[in-house]
Symmetry: C2
Subunit: 218 residues, 2 copies
């Protein structure tokens, strides 16, 4: 019997997109179900009763929640092609360390850039660039965080890469002059087939960001 | 050549203790080095330049940071005995999900119980018990979160179990009547040989908690 794979997701989500990319890297067919986050489906509430958040991967009826947990699950289940985590324990630990860094030190200021203004926003922009510069140092002369191959950390960051333009426009600043090496790697990630197929139109994200910004910054 | 394993740690840390327990579950000999967090050693700053936090596991000169990342690394390197994570991908994803829950929904209120007072502390106590009740439901009739065996989620929680008495005394409340099933599992965890050897005297933790509480709640 073929696997039944359903993804509960929301199109501009930097977290949802991670699951989409991982599934496409593995060539897994899946049914995408768009959620209305203001009126969540009974299925979402049933499958993720603790956090009630997307993305949720439902694999043969069983839910997996939290985006990078979903990515790791996908990597472990469909392990025969395109490994996303390295096999070496030390390199795996390094990858998990950087994903944790992204989900705290990049997430927190990124989230404030579109949802605040004035001094709070200025502080968030500074912290965001500082975090991106640390990642730029880690990237060094590698093509991807995964080395020669697009991997776990790259997938975690691609959710932010797809929001770069919206962040820059909401915050009236520019990332590339501060982090040229990271930006070059971001461009390589955004050109990948699995990513192109998973990302919405960047202009739509900018439009969406300004729409929700209006609600938060009245 | 034998492995050189050094753990940079701080005795009352609920995070540091996770690494200690994991090493002892695996029977790994290690050198424990106590850090003074008000005057961090050059080695700690060199080995964890991003967060400058304990625990850091230094294995043959290479650092691994962030407590549950350290535990997973230990599980992968010394994989021949006492597996801490299950081998089934779905069960692994569930274990990682609950560890993430613990490190957000348990950590945040737990941290406030000893460091705040008044309304903020009351709110934290309520949130703490709510989070513990969710874990109690997940535990159900299992001996440990890991089922019949002490595992990844149990190690994550043991850091909090060792602080239960201090939390109760700082917050003037009682966990057992609210979460009897969780408490029974906590007692089983605290009796394990690897845990007994890794935990400080509970009275010393209470004493430490009140000492730092004085600094935060003037």
């Amino acid at each position: 019997m073929a696997d039944e794979v359903i993804l509960l997701d929301f199109w501009p989500s930097p977290f949802g997109v991670r699951a989409r990319i991982a599934l496409r890297e593995k060539g897994v067919e899946f049914e995408y179900r768009e959620e209305n986050l203001r009126d969540k489906s009974p299925l979402l509430l049933q499958m993720n009763p603790v956090h009630k958040k997307i993305p949720v991967l439902i694999h043969n009826g069983k839910p997996v929640c939290e985006s990078m947990n979903v990515v790791q699950y996908i990597d472990e289940v469909w392990s025969d092609q395109n490994p996303l985590l390295p096999s070496n324990p030390y390199q795996r630990a390094q990858a998990r360390f950087w994903v944790d860094f992204i989900d705290t030190k990049v997430f927190e200021p990124a989230d404030k850039i579109w949802s605040t203004k004035g001094e709070v926003q200025e502080k968030a922009k500074k912290e965001y660039i500082e975090a991106l510069k640390i990642l730029e140092t880690e990237l060094g002369d590698k093509t991807f965080f995964g080395g020669d191959t697009f991997g776990f950390v790259d997938i975690a960051m691609t959710g932010y890469y797809m929001w770069f333009e919206a962040s820059e426009k909401c915050g009236n600043f520019s990332i590339e002059p501060e982090c040229p090496i990271l930006m070059a790697s971001a461009k390589r990630c955004l050109q990948r087939d699995s990513v192109v197929k998973s990302l919405p139109d960047p202009e739509k994200i900018v439009e969406f960001a300004f729409k929700i910004r209006k609600i938060y910054c009245v």
